[in-house]
């Protein structure tokens, strides 16, 4: 089918559905909407908070490692890790030095990679280690069929190509977004974000004792409520809207480690945010 079409317009085309078309044409874009193949339908993505869990030290991390080890007996886990306080610090220094968003995104990869190795060390007895980002995506299906789970730095590889945000300088696609995009692309079963709060509140529960817990909410309603702060990367709401395979995610409190296996079994133990 090596048909080429050397046309009067001077461009050499290969015959295909999209031949000679502008990919920017709206009708053409609609024509490409078809069902998506799931690469890893049995794997679950779990994102472990950097500041909320890893930075909290042994008291938070050891019970969580034990809970994850239990889950690994029956589930295939892809574990993403946040950068935590060190990323916050490098952002503040970088901003002070006048470095743009793309550079801040590039710098922050190192912090979550460090945390991935910290968690990887503790999960090593269970056959789970941190995978170098350069090979992680391409070899993921091989790993998932060979070992109980893998760890990656949750930061998506946007680096210098990170999108400047509407307000300020902090990279908008951080480790929650990296974990979401990975789960969506590989068609994974679920995404669980493990934090140090029970889920979503209408205000920061650490500052407002009477903050109201939101057990389940759709992305449209959540955007409309314009909450001042969210316990996850705000960009997740946009990513959910465009998701084809991962239509919801759950935020749970990792200080109650038993909730991890419950969430992985599909139980509702935190806040579920769904598309629409």
């Amino acid at each position: 089918m090596a048909d080429t079409d050397n046309t009067e317009d001077g461009r050499q085309h290969i015959k295909s559905m999209l031949m000679r078309e502008s990919l920017l044409d709206k009708d053409l874009q609609r024509s490409t909407e078809t069902p998506v193949y799931r690469m890893l339908p049995n794997a679950c993505v779990v994102k472990i908070g950097g500041r909320s869990i890893i930075d909290a030290g042994r008291e938070a991390v050891y019970p969580l490692v034990e809970a994850l080890a239990g889950c690994l007996e029956t589930k295939k886990l892809i574990i993403g890790v946040g950068g935590g306080v060190r990323s916050r610090h490098v952002f503040s220094i970088g901003i002070d030095l006048g470095l743009p968003t793309g550079v801040l995104a590039q710098l922050s990869m190192a912090d979550s990679l460090g945390n991935a190795h910290i968690l990887g060390t503790l999960l090593a007895p269970y056959g789970v280690v941190a995978i170098p980002p350069e090979i992680f995506g391409h070899l993921l299906p091989l790993f998932i069929h060979s070992v109980p789970g893998v760890i990656f730095n949750g930061v998506p590889p946007y680096s210098l190509w990170e999108h400047p945000p509407a307000l300020g300088r902090i990279p908008p696609h951080r480790t929650d977004a990296g974990s979401f995009l990975l789960a969506e692309c590989f068609g994974c079963q679920s995404l669980v974000l493990v934090k140090d709060v029970d889920g979503l509140y209408d205000r920061d529960p650490k500052e407002h004792a009477n903050a109201e817990f939101i057990r389940e909410i759709g992305s449209t309603e959540l955007k409309a409520r314009q909450l001042e702060t969210l316990p996850f990367d705000r960009v997740l709401l946009d990513l959910l809207d465009n998701a084809r395979l991962l239509r919801s995610f759950q935020i749970i409190n990792g200080l109650h480690p038993d909730r991890i296996s419950a969430a992985l079994n599909g139980e509702h133990v935190g806040t579920i945010i769904h598309a629409g």
């Binding site: 050499q12 946007y158 190509w161 400047p164 590989f186």
Partner: protein, 271 residues
């Protein structure tokens, strides 16, 4: 815990939420430095340019060479018809956007390699994203570098709102390089004079638009636009690269004039 070593912003970021808008407003200042203010980013179209072969590419290469020593050039490449073929096979097989993005990256890399060999005798390197830390050295020493235009999002590429084709392709990847480096200009080399009210290859009566703002362009809600939509979205939040120019590279001298700051195609501005 005392954070005496931290700046005030540092203290707020370490303890606050990165989704708190009041805190984010504090990260606006100071204005970022311009990392490479003398560099120009040039994107050479895939389907519109490189797929035309020697007749289009050789004169442009000659023009690039003539500008060595006069203008620093960071040259990104488009993908073109092979990417369209790969996308259509992939879409038929139900592959996700992230995988299509990998396939598109391979094609724009082929195009970058080809241009690189044509410029190799002038000491111009082709660099992949992992080699970007060497970019300033090559630029200072040789005056130009080639890179593939696709942003390296691969499996982490966001879905489009409609369809499956990766929304952030080579126009976007090149644009983001120009913005992050605070570059002097962003020039898109295509095979049309610039932006028209419709695809001039299909609509005889398409009207040429020499200059337009992003919001005016969005209001027109054209069926087809000469640069990727996501570039327009990103331009709204840009610090430095608040204008881009689309030029017809088939016309000799246009690239040089655009590098000299002249208006030879369509200029799109953030405001």
């Amino acid at each position: 815990m005392h954070h005496d070593l931290l700046t005030e912003l540092g203290r707020s970021l370490v303890s606050g939420s990165l989704e708190d808008e009041k805190l984010m407003a504090k990260t606006v200042d100071p204005q970022p430095v311009q990392i490479l203010p003398e560099a120009n980013v040039i994107k050479i179209g895939g389907q519109s340019f490189i797929d035309r072969g020697r007749v289009a590419v050789f004169p442009l290469i000659e023009e690039v060479v003539k500008n060595l020593g006069r203008h620093q050039m960071i040259i990104g490449t488009g993908a073109g018809t092979r990417a369209r073929h790969a996308y259509s096979v992939g879409i038929d097989l139900g592959l996700p956007t992230g995988v299509l993005s990998v396939l598109g990256t391979f094609v724009s890399m082929q195009n970058a390699r080809m241009l690189h060999y044509l410029l190799a005798r002038h000491g111009i390197p082709f660099i992949e994203p992992v080699q970007f830390p060497q970019l300033p050295l090559y630029l200072a020493e040789r005056g130009a570098v080639i890179f593939f235009g696709m942003p390296p999002y691969v499996f982490w590429h966001q879905n489009p709102a409609v369809g499956r084709i990766p929304p952030h392709r080579t126009d976007t990847g090149s644009y983001l390089v120009s913005e992050v480096f605070g570059a002097r200009s962003m020039i898109y080399v295509k095979d049309e004079k610039g932006l028209y009210t419709a695809d001039p290859k299909k609509e005889r009566h398409a009207r040429f638009i020499p200059k337009i703002t992003v919001s005016e362009l969005e209001e027109l809600d054209l069926q087809d636009v000469v640069v990727e939509h996501s570039v327009l979205g990103l331009m709204k939040h840009a610090t430095y690269r608040r204008s881009i120019q689309v030029i017809n590279g088939l016309e000799e001298g246009n690239l040089t004039r655009a590098l000299n700051g002249e208006h030879v195609g369509t200029i799109i501005t953030s405001d």
